[in-house]
């Protein structure tokens, strides 16, 4: 009997570009092979995604998924690790980085988005002095 992992690699990669982020999270839990497939495939194309830091919470929205992580160095490091476990690349038409008093250090921002292919980047500021930052 054939199982899904005997299907052509090109098909599995194509399939993984057609599932939503929340489905990728659930697929991780099905078995080890899917956990690996989720980590090693591209998530496909999404119209928009965003990053928002407000008070002590770091929020990332991609497609149907919204991640909320404590804004601490340790939590961000773990979240960057999680991102590498749910896709190895993603294409975004529009990425919004919303500054709201907190600044995500440039190096960490680069690390977080290093497998993102972003067509348009917007940075939204809520105070004039954030423009300088």
């Amino acid at each position: 009997l054939m199982d899904i992992f005997s299907l052509p690699d090109v098909f599995l990669r194509k399939l993984m570009k057609n599932v939503e982020i929340k489905d990728r999270l659930r697929l991780r839990l099905t078995c080890r092979s899917f956990n690996n497939l989720v980590a090693n495939t591209h998530a496909g194309y999404f119209d928009s995604a965003g990053l928002h830091i407000y008070e002590n919470t770091f929020t990332v929205c991609i497609g149907d998924a919204k991640f909320k992580v404590p804004f601490t160095a340790e939590a961000i490091e773990l979240f960057i690790l999680l991102r590498s476990r749910i896709f190895n690349g993603i294409a975004l038409k529009h990425f919004l980085y919303w500054l709201n008093g907190n600044i995500f250090p440039l190096e960490e921002y680069r690390e977080f988005t290093n497998n993102f292919n972003v067509e348009e980047l917007s940075i939204s500021v809520s105070r004039e002095n954030e423009l300088v930052k």
Partner: protein
């Protein structure tokens, strides 16, 4: 240049022979290349049959799909990343796949057609079957996904707990 009246004989992996119109086989990159490699001239027909690594039952399904899609535009439009939607499967194709759902081995049939579409390089069929499987998975629970995809959970409870903990950062 394609000669629609030309007929091509295909021999299957289980020894059957099927003769089909070139109008159908033009959608298969594999068969087209095989015919080209035979160096057929304008007036000739291939002297040798084309051997395909697909069984007779699966090839019949592929031919049924090709017959419906014989007038589809060629070359098949390359999908860009923007086209990730899976809800645009034509009604005929949906009915074609639903028909398999009445079979006990529906998943095996789908997997066989996917493998055939890849071997024969039929991009439209590969796209359609991909969307079909994505639609079966999308929005399902972990248990439902395991059932649909016929998967056995091989994680320990500790490993599952660790993944659930990471996933918990995503709001429901």
């Amino acid at each position: 240049r394609i000669y629609p009246l030309m007929r091509v004989t295909l021999t299957t992996s289980d020894g059957a022979s099927v003769t089909v119109s070139r109008q159908l086989t033009k959608h298969s990159g594999f068969i087209e290349k095989a015919i080209t490699d035979m160096a057929v001239d304008d007036n000739a027909v291939p002297l040798s049959a084309v051997a395909v690594d697909v069984d007779d039952a699966t090839l019949k399904l592929v031919i049924e799909w090709l017959t419906e899609h014989r007038d589809d535009a060629l070359p098949y439009p390359e999908k860009t990343d923007e086209e990730r939607r899976a809800d645009d499967i034509p009604a005929w194709d949906q009915a074609f796949v639903q028909k398999w759902d009445t079979k006990e081995d529906q998943q095996q049939t789908l997997y066989a057609v996917i493998t055939a579409a890849d071997k024969l390089d039929i991009k439209g069929l590969l796209d359609m079957t991909c969307k079909t499987l994505a639609n079966k998975i999308n929005g399902k629970t972990v248990e439902e996904m395991r059932e649909i995809l016929q998967l056995e959970c091989d994680f320990t409870e500790e490993e599952l707990a660790e993944i659930r903990k990471e996933n918990a950062w995503c709001e429901n």
